[in-house]
Amino acid sequence: MQLSTLVIALLTAVLVWTLLIRRLSAKPWIQAGAIDAAHNAGPTTLPAAKIGLWIFLGVITSLFALFFTAYMMRMDPHHAAGVTWVPFDKPAFLWVNTLLLILGSLSMQWARTGESQGRINTLKTGLTASGFCIIGFLVGQIVAWNQVREAEFFALTNPAVGFFYLLTAVHGLHILGGLWVWAGATLRIWRADKVISASLTVELCTVYWHYLLLVWLILFGLLLST
């Protein structure tokens, strides 16, 4: 709980600082009249989808922070009624999956660079490769699930096992959501055959992939260390 409070406090602080403080010192009652230069440009220059994604990442951060907090609190013998947390060996296959996810993120970044430089082939290749790496990651997660199932016989009353399934599943679902957007973008780019109007989608996909990689690295670290 402390962790999630900290994360949320931090998020709020950043939000308040960057978005609000400068503007919140305005005195609207004595500034009636002309629209001053600062507001000629409209409320913000960022596209809506980009703002939407960043807010969504805030929501997911809150979600995962709470899951991680629950994980650590459940481990804490002061909270649990008797020690029932039995650590188990995490499948080594998870390292392969991690590598795939990193490759996915890298090739997405490569695609984005290609897009910004107008190189359509780099964009196509990077985007496609990235998606297949991510799909590979998901398949790999299922393999890892099966390995845990064979080793642990679905011993779900052990919260270490329960949390393993739960957290990887939640992460996997978020990946699936990203793949949906990726599939749409990839189809469009292959059909259009030139670098058109894809810059925003590619950028958002890249941010999302990097973000989910970060979440996975934290999650993987948490799983390995406990």
């Binding site: 949320i8 609207p28 004595i30 809506a48 807010i55 929501v59 809150s62 709470l66």
Partner: protein, 585 residues
């Protein structure tokens, strides 16, 4: 990217062509707002009906054979959950948020209209899932709206097998719906305000809804996490929250889970939820008071800061709901302190509302009556919150009717008063018709006095120690017989209040059919939604050209100006006096 007004952007506004796209699968924020509101109000009526059944049982025990103990607990649970989530959250954010944000910010629609539509239909799905629990074996869950495990998923609790699953599924879907809506509200406020509408020129209604949405987006995941984990404990036998436990003489498979962990997660959502409901209320009531007192809101900037401060503080008080669950005394001290600190920004708001009224040109219109009723009720309920925020006072009062009285005053009656005030205030804009003034006044007085008759006595029974959530307390030696008399009185008052709500619905239906045309700005209000070219506003809201804003939302009774209000979009050249020239620094 240079700023391009939404009207001038490349993509077309999704103009509706058929009845279905116009009224059912609509992407227009105004239609979605009405869909949200109607659904939420229907749920609210259902929740009110449940509370009447509870009151009947408490006043006349052993009289109604259909109110069994199990049914009573189901009524308690469903009443609580429906009112908090499916009525108040959905109505203030989904209903008012959808209607007011684009209109008050000068936008044509939400920035993601399709997602906005999806949000409503997901909400409706969550409502269906919830109501389905009446048709599953065992009926809906009777675990109390807090759904604490282990009791919520063990035999003996009504609906432990199916009802709880439906409830959890419904909540998860609701949270997804809320997230889709919430992304829209925040992004629209940040991105789609019209030219000149700076953050500090936004009406407080938008501020309240905006900040409440941020709170909701950060807090609802906690409910999601706890719902998923209880669901897994129940369905596949994990032991996240379930300790080793005996049930009907049998050792269950659970071991070592932590029920306290659930309480932390639940209340990490549960307390901010209070402010998810309260912040839009604070904002809306500020606008009602200012408009109907013909006076600028007192301390606008302080009001904004107070909203932000309350939102931030609402994340560090959750464990005051758990004083009796047991915790480290230092934690108790911490949470009691933070709880009392919240009183400071809240009190600032109350003072500012009162000071807005001071020397105002107060018009006792129906929305104004409700707004003033809110100030009294909210202060009452807020003060008892100070009692309960102290650990030593909370312990004896915990789980008594004092708590029931407190939270019904502060987050039941208060928001509902503003809800009605707001509906009466914006009804002329939404429908183009004026409501019946007399009926509305009767509705107000019966509701206000009736709810006081219901909840004031509950404080006294609470201090006597009468526990809440009990089906019957007959025979308990510490409860004097007079409590039964009080209970009968409360029930009569409650039935009267419930019946009085029919005045509202009669009024709405009558006014829709026979109400006088309202005109575009019957209250002479300054905010943008009253300046639309059409009433009710058409699709796209603003005709060919977006409005431009030159001033804040509270230029009422500006000296030297012929009218007692200046709309936000009125350019400075059209009148000689600006506020600064008259020294309102």
């Amino acid at each position: 990217m240079a700023y391009v007004a939404i009207a001038d952007q490349e993509h077309e506004l999704h103009d509706p062509h058929s009845f279905v796209t116009k009224y059912i699968w609509s992407q227009d924020h105004k239609v979605i707002a009405i869909q949200y509101s109607v659904t939420a109000i229907v749920m609210g009526l259902f929740g009110m009906g449940l509370s009447m059944l509870m009151r009947l049982q408490l006043a006349y025990p052993d009289t109604f054979s259909f109110i069994t103990p199990n049914a009573y607990y189901q009524h308690v649970t469903m009443h609580g959950m429906i009112m908090v989530i499916y009525l108040l959250t959905a109505l203030f954010l989904g209903g008012f948020g959808n209607y007011l944000i684009p209109l008050m910010c000068g936008a044509r629609d939400m920035v993601f209209p399709f997602m906005n539509m999806l949000s409503y239909w997901m909400y409706l799905l969550s409502v269906f899932l919830l109501m389905t629990s009446y048709f599953v074996p065992g009926g809906p869950t009777g675990a109390g709206w807090t759904l604490y495990p282990p009791q919520s998923i063990l035999p003996g609790t009504p609906g432990f097998d199916w009802g709880i699953i439906m409830m959890l599924a419904s909540l998860a879907v609701f949270i997804i719906a809320f997230t889709m809506g919430g992304l829209n509200y925040i992004t629209t406020v940040l991105q789609a305000r019209c030219r000149g509408m700076t953050l500090m020129r936004m009406p407080l209604s938008v501020w309240g809804i905006f900040v409440a949405t941020i709170v909701g987006l950060l807090a609802f995941p906690a409910l999601f996490v706890s719902a998923v984990m209880v669901g897994l404990d129940r369905l596949v036998g994990t032991s996240f929250f379930m300790p080793a436990i005996l049930s009907a003489g049998q050792n269950l498979d659970y071991q070592g889970g932590s029920p306290l962990l659930f309480q932390h997660l639940f209340w990490f959502f549960g307390h901010p939820e209070v402010y998810i409901v309260a912040l839009p209320v604070f904002g809306i009531v500020s606008d009602l008071l200012s408009c109907h007192a013909r006076k600028n809101i007192f301390g606008y900037r302080m009001m904004v800061w107070a909203i932000v401060a309350i939102a931030a503080l609402s994340f560090v008080v959750w464990a005051h709901h758990m004083f009796v669950s047991g915790m480290n005394p230092y934690f108790g001290f911490f949470f009691a302190t933070t709880t009392l600190i919240i009183a400071i920004p809240t009190a600032i708001k109350v003072y500012n509302w009162v000071l807005t009224l001071w020397r105002g040109n107060i018009r006792y219109t129906v929305p104004m009556l409700f707004a003033i009723g809110f100030i009294f009720t909210f202060t009452n309920g807020g003060l008892t919150g100070l009692f309960l925020g102290n650990v030593t006072v909370d312990l004896p009062l915990s789980d008594t009717y004092f708590v029931v009285a407190h939270f019904h005053m502060v987050m039941g009656v208060s928001p509902v008063l503003v809800l009605f005030g707001a509906v009466y205030h914006w009804f002329p804009k939404i429908t183009g018709k004026m409501f019946n003034e007399n009926l509305a006044r009767w509705h107000f007085w019966l509701t206000l006095l009736g709810t006081y008759a219901v909840y004031l006595p509950m404080h006294y029974i609470g201090i006597l120690g009468v526990p809440r959530r009990y089906y019957a307390t007959l025979g308990a030696s510490f409860i004097p017989d007079s409590v039964q008399t009080v209970n009968v009185n409360i029930t009569i008052a409650a039935l009267t209040v419930a019946a009085a709500q029919s005045l509202f619905f009669i009024n709405v239906i009558w006014s829709l059919m026979k109400g006088k045309p309202a005109g575009s700005n019957p209250w002479n209000a300054t905010t943008l939604e009253w300046q639309t070219p059409d009433t009710p506003p058409k699709h796209g809201n603003w005709g060919p050209k977006l409005p431009e804003v030159y001033r804040w939302a509270y230029d009422y009774s500006v000296p030297g100006h012929s009218q007692d209000f200046i709309p936000q979009n009125e350019p400075p050249s059209s009148h000689s006096a600006t506020a600064s020239e008259h020294g309102r620094h």
